[in-house]
């Protein structure tokens, strides 16, 4: 089921020198499959993981995740 949270993780990974899903997963302490599910909008991460992702890309959390107003 698609969630109401949009994200720019794939774009940010590409901008960070084509960081792999596995590399991001290792840095935030989840599995690669979980990063994939978040990217595809199939899983909404906890606030803690969302902050960790934002910290990896050195960007504010709302630059990574946005609430989908249409949802």
């Amino acid at each position: 089921m698609a969630c109401a949270i949009l994200n720019r993780i794939r774009e940010l990974r590409a901008a960070a020198g084509d960081m792999t899903q596995q590399a991001l997963a290792d840095r935030i302490g989840v599995t690669r499959q979980t990063v994939n599910a978040i990217e595809l909008g199939k899983y909404s991460p906890s606030l803690e993981v969302a902050f960790r992702i934002a910290r990896v890309f050195d960007t504010p959390i709302d630059a990574v995740f946005q609430f989908d107003e249409r949802a």
Partner: protein, 144 residues
């Protein structure tokens, strides 16, 4: 885009699901034959213990093989999504176990056979475990 390969936890769920099916279908078939009197009590018990031993060995060997291929993942704790999947699947399995428990209580009124009641309880546990691992597999696949 191609989905990522299965995680250790998903492989573990598949192993348990398939192993339960492989072992407990013949297990309950053996119990049924015992109930019908097609096999003696001694033969039935020997077969049942053999199958339970096979279940433990299969679970251990297959999990060790999968863990050797992904040691880092096997040693790391479940992440938040895996925990959520486990909780959701366990919640559904609980209701199956609950129905089985009531069936066992009902069985007391139909038969005084402790063996038959034991089989109903075992069946409830096995079905609940199948639902738990099957639920985990479905939820893992849905997110892939």
């Amino acid at each position: 885009m191609e989905p990522p390969p299965m995680s250790f936890r998903e492989k573990s769920a598949w192993i348990s699901f398939v192993t339960i099916l492989l072992v407990f279908i013949p297990f309950f078939w053996n119990s049924y034959r015992q109930w019908q009197g097609a096999v003696t009590g001694h033969e039935g018990v020997s077969t049942a213990f053999g199958l339970l031993l096979a279940f433990v060995v299969l679970e251990i060997v297959l999990h060790v093989i999968v863990a050797i291929r992904a040691p880092k993942e096997a040693q790391s704790p479940r992440d938040e999504r895996e925990q959520l999947i486990d909780l959701r699947a366990t919640r559904v399995a609980f209701y199956v176990l609950l129905v089985g428990a009531f069936a066992a209580v009902g069985m007391v009124h139909l038969t005084r056979s402790a063996w038959a009641i034991q089989q109903i309880v075992l069946l409830a546990i096995v079905l609940a475990e199948l639902v738990r691992f099957g639920g985990q597999i479905l939820l893992f696949r849905r997110d892939a």
